[in-house]
Symmetry: C2
Subunit: 667 residues, 2 copies
Amino acid sequence: MASSHFSKGPLTKFRNAASCDWRKMKIFLEGKENVDFGDRIAKCLENDPVFAREWKTTTVEEARVLVHKRWSKLIEYDFVGLSKGVLPDVAKLDYFLRTLEPYDAGLTTYCMMGSIVPSTIISLQGSKKHQPLVEALLQSKIIGSLCLTELSHGSNTKAFQTTAIFDNGELVFNTPHPEAMKCWSANLGSTATHSIIFAQLIVNGSSHGVHTFVVQVRDLKTLEPLPGITIGSVGEIVGAWNGVGTGWMMFRNYKTGLEALLDRNCSLTKDGVYKSKFKNPAQQHGAALSALAFSRIGVLGKGGQACEFAATIAIRYSFVRRQFGPTDDEEIPVIEYPLQKHRLFPILANAFVIALFHRKFSKIFAEHAMRTASGERSQELAELGKDIHVLSVSCKAVTTWMGVKALSEARLACGGHGYLKSSRLNDYRNDLDPMCTYEGDNHLIIQQAAFYLLGQAKQKSASSPLNLTSALKKPVEPLKTLSGDIIQDASNAHKWLIQHLIKETGLFLKNEMNLGKSAFEARNNAQVAYIQPLSVAFAEFTMFEWAYDISLKAPEDLKRVLVKLCKIYILANLEKHIPVLYMGNYCTGPDLGKAIQEELSKAESDLTPEAISLCDVIAPSDFLLHSSLGSSDGRVYERLFNECQKTANSRPTWWADLVTVLNKSKL
Amino acid sequence: MASSHFSKGPLTKFRNAASCDWRKMKIFLEGKENVDFGDRIAKCLENDPVFAREWKTTTVEEARVLVHKRWSKLIEYDFVGLSKGVLPDVAKLDYFLRTLEPYDAGLTTYCMMGSIVPSTIISLQGSKKHQPLVEALLQSKIIGSLCLTELSHGSNTKAFQTTAIFDNGELVFNTPHPEAMKCWSANLGSTATHSIIFAQLIVNGSSHGVHTFVVQVRDLKTLEPLPGITIGSVGEIVGAWNGVGTGWMMFRNYKTGLEALLDRNCSLTKDGVYKSKFKNPAQQHGAALSALAFSRIGVLGKGGQACEFAATIAIRYSFVRRQFGPTDDEEIPVIEYPLQKHRLFPILANAFVIALFHRKFSKIFAEHAMRTASGERSQELAELGKDIHVLSVSCKAVTTWMGVKALSEARLACGGHGYLKSSRLNDYRNDLDPMCTYEGDNHLIIQQAAFYLLGQAKQKSASSPLNLTSALKKPVEPLKTLSGDIIQDASNAHKWLIQHLIKETGLFLKNEMNLGKSAFEARNNAQVAYIQPLSVAFAEFTMFEWAYDISLKAPEDLKRVLVKLCKIYILANLEKHIPVLYMGNYCTGPDLGKAIQEELSKAESDLTPEAISLCDVIAPSDFLLHSSLGSSDGRVYERLFNECQKTANSRPTWWADLVTVLNKSKL
Ligand SMILES: Cc1cc2nc3c(=O)[nH]c(=O)nc-3n(C[C@H](O)[C@H](O)[C@H](O)COP(=O)(O)OP(=O)(O)OC[C@H]3O[C@@H](n4cnc5c(N)ncnc54)[C@H](O)[C@@H]3O)c2cc1C
Ligand SMILES: Cc1cc2nc3c(=O)[nH]c(=O)nc-3n(C[C@H](O)[C@H](O)[C@H](O)COP(=O)(O)OP(=O)(O)OC[C@H]3O[C@@H](n4cnc5c(N)ncnc54)[C@H](O)[C@@H]3O)c2cc1C
């Protein structure tokens, strides 16, 4: 369908080939209010010279200064209403961050880590006396940061070694040795005035495990670190993260009052009496970490955004780029090659499925958070919390892997021009890459899904408020014949896969234990062939189920297209599990394997007329996307040509020296 | 075995666990002369302040100035003896470039593209009158560049649109429209004085297709572009490539003499009589491109080097990094986790197999080049040339894919610290990434292997001087039982795979044609499921066969370790083809699939005691590698800590402005 929203250009005719209206689809996906809100932010930034930019790598210092300037401007705009000093509506916040992400991932992080994340943690873990800090953080009167990671410990959070020792009614912080130095803390390296610290609480010589504290780290007038604290930058890191000022910190007898302890789940009196609300330190530790789930769901969404940027740039470019053709005189757009479709359309499908899933999941999370905050304490709420946790860790891992892979593939799919700074594909990849690592290393956190499933499978009447065990409900029999409905067939195969891997994992672990291995060893040995594939299959399939369900309920014109995307998603993701299907005797011979290949190829071909319009649905505005290859008008060559002309006939600054060298070589 | 070569540190005990001597292995792999030569270059650079460096991204301008300075110094060192003005020994040159690559991939390219590549092309395609240019390029009296790619054409070389029109005894060059602008030419953007140009030769109104020319583009005294030529930079690109000065160029009635035409295979007289030595333009075109095979084999080697850098940094770090353990008090090196081994040891195996293969292949290529240069024209030489071509395109694609994947995985495997600039993993990836695209887009060039195999399979008595059809010799029957020798079993499976895919591809193509599709369409439709997997399987297996063969002939102590590496290589690479093995009924049930998984896991476990020593074999010197995580002494934390201390308590330069913003927010 035509749209006057986009400038005319080489993409117009492909855009017009779509069967449904891109804006209707966008509103279905994101909600009218969010779409309008996003548009308003995008326009604002585009018209504000503070947000003007070019295709040029800045130095670390320049990046930080720019982030500071733009952050100051964002405080003035107050898009999400933080100036009120109360935690904002999750959906609104999410949409603000989503909109900012393609503009500058560093700026997004700076806003999140300086204000939203620490204030959320304090809200969830602190008590009434900490409320003024929450307000101050939200209103940007102070700047926050988050210090878990130490030089020698990241994933193993129990082993953090920074100490907070009770001493005469005060807390004294120390970094016992260099390897316990806090590091990788966003915002800390340049500007944070406060910090959330994870440290071992020691009272009267006995350690109570890792607790969460909030302390002031810099003077508010001079911005110098307070006495007893040394702060610095971890040095240059990757991409937009340099704008954030990632820092390290060491304590040397740094003293604070007891109010530094976030004490929702424990208490510590002036006389050194410590009490925890939990039965054991493991629970206490779990509670300290649970506050992080909130930002993990945000990262899950970033994985989807990475797919959106990748798909938009590479697919738009592939419709414009022509290379080879049926005759020497006729060249066809490279998207016409089935190989190029196969490289790019699954990325588009992933983007849509993640978007549908993420929006629903965020809503569920927000409700859960509200109920928790209102003081509710029910069995059902606790179980819902567990479901949310399992889903957040496993899907965060899967979406961020998908996202990073998408950006790599997209760059390659753009041939040489993909490596131009102005394509932005390299920048996006560098900026988004670390999402596989922060908020929990993917390879580690995803394992929790397998253990959850093993536990659920053991219980006779396992309950899951989010119905996460739907794949386990009915035993799936090995395949006899294909049903002819490939989505049905793929779903069945996927369910069988999950059931089979649960059984095999259980057997493997039992066998290892019988061989005398410890639980630790047995689990480690099961990582590659059992725990990881099981967790991946679970996360992929759950996202599919949710997205497919929403798609089926969409208005007919949208439904037709969404179902196509769901089909590509499930087939492309099932492909890598084919070995298990055959090894486990779910099927034999060519039928299922070929059906997956051929139906996928057909679906990719079918999607072609919709592709440009679908990119329009998920694409950030041209200004935000800022890609010479991925603009909505498709005027790639004009843009590249004009950019090139800026450097016409500029002589190297070292030309005279060069001439001398060339002449010397003549001797 | 112990070695005094490396400083003591956390890696010493792991190094001592190896069963064979790392230096003996290195010499077996690379040859004593090359190892010594490499050591000499490394020492030289390390001791020369011009080559000092830090972990800091430079601006584009800074990068270019640095490359210029260091290149000038390399001319003085004259490591490969270019000052003699004759093309150097291929092995020596290769080793020089290999040694320089980890130091700065931009500098390596600048040397290659400014001198070696253009002089080789002129040697192969030009005639006697061009000899002075060859000398001048090698002696750095002039600087070269290579212009194939145009704004709208890269892969489709036949469609280049730059024209060289014969006019009154001269050649007149033109860029007919903006999209025909030459671009992506290394060295051209900043310093090249000369350029190899691919352009359509037009004589008396008739076009003779793309020919190769050499023209001067800048004045040697002023370094300004010559009249009729406009030159600029394509703008910022990725990583070290910015140091190279990648440029664009447009012609407007630029006139040269006829000697600009490289005329080994054709002639053009003053009177406008053109003659080609070939029967048809396709052959002429093929010959023009064949000169590029030389540098493609170099790129194939770079794929292997990427695996070497990735393996060295991530494996050394994984032996030092401890996280979690059997008890709360005991932490184990992360390399102890089977998952971490599974992520990293196949990279080590790929590095060794590629190295063994590449060295043998380079020798064969050098011999072939010598025989060609000496004027030999035999059927056998022609066939050898064809084999070399097929092997270079398919293996270049496979090794560069392996290399880029390796660098991504390595970075993730180093957790948070992997994203430090000082890890160098991000830089290596950015620098090496484009090798998947230049010297032929991988997805396109690899397809040639499938067509070669289809052709060979059709001939009754196909001959291949390099025995590339070894997998086709005997029909492999579907698997009945495993032999117990997993290498044997994997080889058989691999051979069956190639035979099966050849058959299936043939059938598919025939079927498409029967359905009325054109050859162009049929081939395109076969890309995903047939042509690409077939080509990949062929390249992977050929590299295995060559490397395994060399390994079996190694001294016993080395052989034992090399065979372990070959085993990991073939099993890890066979894994992705498992679906085809089952779909094609090569096997059913769990046996083969499980055997591959389990034997791979066992082999990865077996390799652990050798791993550090194997990294020592392939690692560049610490100075060249320049990685805070990958140094041979394993003193990771000391190095990170010291680097951090440099920024202790530096206040942001914009602190005063920040204080104002914080205060304003208080209102
Ligand atoms: C850009 C960025 C921003 C960050 N921001 C912050 C911040 O604001 N605040 C903060 O506190 N931290 C921050 N971090 C740190 C981040 O949270 C940690 O890096 C992350 O949790 C991973 O931990 P690690 O580095 O210790 O990895 P490690 O645990 O050391 O992992 C190293 C490798 O070992 C493997 N491994 C470890 N254990 C096992 C096992 N049991 N089984 C199998 N494999 C294993 C891992 O998979 C990985 O490949 C940031 C990191 C980055 C990159
Ligand atoms: C760092 C760098 C340095 C370079 N240096 C030089 C240099 O010195 N001199 C020079 O002349 N050039 C140079 N190049 C250019 C390089 O050679 C080309 O970019 C390369 O050949 C790829 O061509 P392309 O960009 O036209 O890709 P395209 O052919 O446009 O490919 C775009 C996409 O379409 C796909 N595609 C195209 N055709 C088909 C098909 N038939 N079937 C399926 N898929 C298809 C490709 O796989 C790719 O994904 C350089 C490039 C880079 C990145």
